[in-house]
Amino acid sequence: MTSIITRRRLTFGAAAASTLPILGRGASAQAPLGVGFVYVGPIGDHGYTWTHNQGRLALEKEYGAKIKTSFIENVAEGPDAARAIRQLAQAGNQLIFTTSFGFMNPTIQVAKQFPKIHFEHATGYMRAENVATYDARFYEGRAVIGTIAGHMSKTGQAGYVASFPIPEVVMGINAFHLAARKVNPNFKTKVVWCSTWYDPAKEADAAKALIDQGADMITQHTDSAAPLQAAEQRSVFAFGQASDMKSFAPKAHLSAIVDDWSGYYIKRVKDVMDGNWKSGAVWHGLKEGMVKIAPYNDAVTPAARAAADEVTKGIIAGTLHPFTGELKDQKGAVRLKAGETASDEMLSKMDWYVDGIQA
């Protein structure tokens, strides 16, 4: 498996253009279905992009010779991404996953030029006849780890290493903080914006700065395991992001929010094969298994475990919503009335913070 990846990575430009005719010649019944992926980071980040690539590998395992996958990694968000997406479209892929928020406009733009190709954009909100969107309810996982943080923190302060203030990140911060505040009403969450998804040294320094300011729980919405290593070095606790990161910080790693895209990818490939693919929007969470909670560290106290399990169960059963009123933003405006829960519409546009967050 590895050799396939490396060869593909080295010779992508040439291979993408040249393999098609070769395959066409050998195909007796049906040519394999081309499935392309556009990644924002390196597949070796052991974080967000890595999890999408795990989904791609799961596809290969599931369908074998019936499909042919390819990917382009380290694609910058913004207009230039159109080039990468177009390259995959021209190479004959019929289903293309663009896996980061900043690929939204380029995906829509390229999709117009290739009406017969199916596009899937992760974490965005713009759709078209041939562009579907999919997203994971990461905030559900954040509510679970926030509960653990509320129980385990001695200083009552968490440090949040964050990337950019987009709705997905903002709702994650709020969900984490609300869950922790439920346990400890005086809980504080401090955020440091790194203005990048991936810069291990900077992420580590951000974590250190937060620890200097008194945080004893580190959580993150960036892609590398560096904040966990910083937490391990300073003997505070931390939570993994996107994948189980225990190996980086055996003592500090209390749990992790794990993304699992394989179920969705396998289903969507099948839809294309059966001719049932339709545009739409899915937003899956703990219930559907797109978001998972990694095994707890031994250091997690029985009380914290029980409370976290209860939150998980409540979310899966639909009896608990991480955003339940009454909720006020920092200016004191009521955003949710008592008993009201946040609509998906409200979540996907969230640009305000609840009290006790320093962002």
């Binding site: 990575r9 070796g44 890595w50 203005s195 291990p200 040294a201 900077k202 250190k208 700065a209 320093q358």
Partner: protein, 307 residues
């Protein structure tokens, strides 16, 4: 601000500055010999992955450091053969070396993603290196002290030694140096190799000390900052030290201010700060002299042929 916090901030600052200082010091020597090697980022990544791979396989960070230096030299030799012997365009070759380094390190490192090793340890015994205050001075690993010693060494070499004078001559006027009988190309090879070794060590500082792991593009563009630092320093080792620590300070302070809840400064402004500082210093330097020349070695980036 408590003293413990100040100590902690200083420790972070010194650690953040060290890889910049190492890589930039190597590039300074190469540029003093008249060679512009834009492949610093690529050489750093080669060093980072080699250092990690060897340290992981042997269990020794010391051997890892040696391997990192060798990997940096090996990468720099690709550049040297192309740019010095075959006289390819130095800018294009350097950029190619960076792109090559990104790809090669990712390929070599594929099997090491998710592995961890023990962090590079402080040099001095725990009584000093873990002392609440004195650790600012004694709490660092070998590369921090090595980088500082190298600043002094390089400064002395360039200013006070005959080989240093010859190296500068090769960078200022290659034709004259050649006419007197100095082997211009050989000297440039040596300078480029030195640059490669230090870039390799600078890269290894990420994978062995700052964030002891391998992940693709681990250095995240620090090689470009190192290149900017050489210009910032006006090719003077002392000023390079100042510049590297200034950059490290701004990078650290940006995060510390955010963590402390300073809201009157937008994070974007803080993120720009190091680069604004570069522009400001460059402007001040060129205002200070009538020619506007920044003390760059006269033959910087020009190919040389003995025939």
């Amino acid at each position: 601000m408590t003293s413990a916090m100040l100590v902690s901030i200083l420790m972070t600052l010194i650690a953040a500055s060290t890889p910049l200082l190492l890589a930039a010091l190597g590039e300074l020597i190469a540029e003093k010999a008249g060679v512009l090697n834009l492949g610093v980022e690529g050489m750093m990544l080669c060093g980072a992955v080699a250092g990690f791979a060897v340290a992981f396989s042997t269990g020794s960070t010391g051997i890892g450091l040696v391997a990192a230096a060798f990997a940096g030299v090996a990468a720099s030799m690709i550049f040297a053969v192309l740019a010095l012997s075959l006289m390819a365009n130095q800018v294009a070759t350097g950029l190619a070396l960076t792109i090559f380094g990104i790809g090669a390190s990712s390929l070599i490192g594929a099997g090491f993603v998710g592995r961890t090793i023990a962090r590079l340890q402080p040099v001095f015994p725990a009584a000093l290196s873990e002392h609440p205050i004195l650790r600012v001075i004694f709490g660092h690993d070998i590369l921090v002290y090595l980088s500082l010693a190298l600043v002094a060494g390089v400064s002395w070499f360039l200013r006070r030694t005959r080989p240093g004078l010859i190296l500068r001559a090769v960078g200022e006027n290659d034709a004259s140096a050649h006419a007197i009988g100095y082997p211009v190309v050989a000297i440039r090879y040596a300078a480029v190799a030195f640059g490669g070794a230090l870039a390799g060590l600078g890269g290894a500082y990420f994978s062995l000390a700052l964030t002891p792991m391998w992940a693709d593009r681990l250095t995240a563009g620090r090689g470009w900052i190192a290149l900017a630092l050489v210009v910032f320093s006006a090719w003077k080792p002392g000023r390079l030290l100042l510049g590297a620590y200034l950059f490290g300070a701004v990078m650290t302070l940006e995060l510390q201010l955010k963590a402390a809840g300073v809201t009157w400064l937008a994070p974007e402004v803080l993120a720009m700060a190091p680069y604004l500082a570069t522009i400001a210093v460059l402007t001040m330097m060129s205002l200070g002299r009538k020619t506007g020349r920044l003390d760059a070695p006269a033959c910087l980036g020009k190919p040389f042929s003995a025939s």
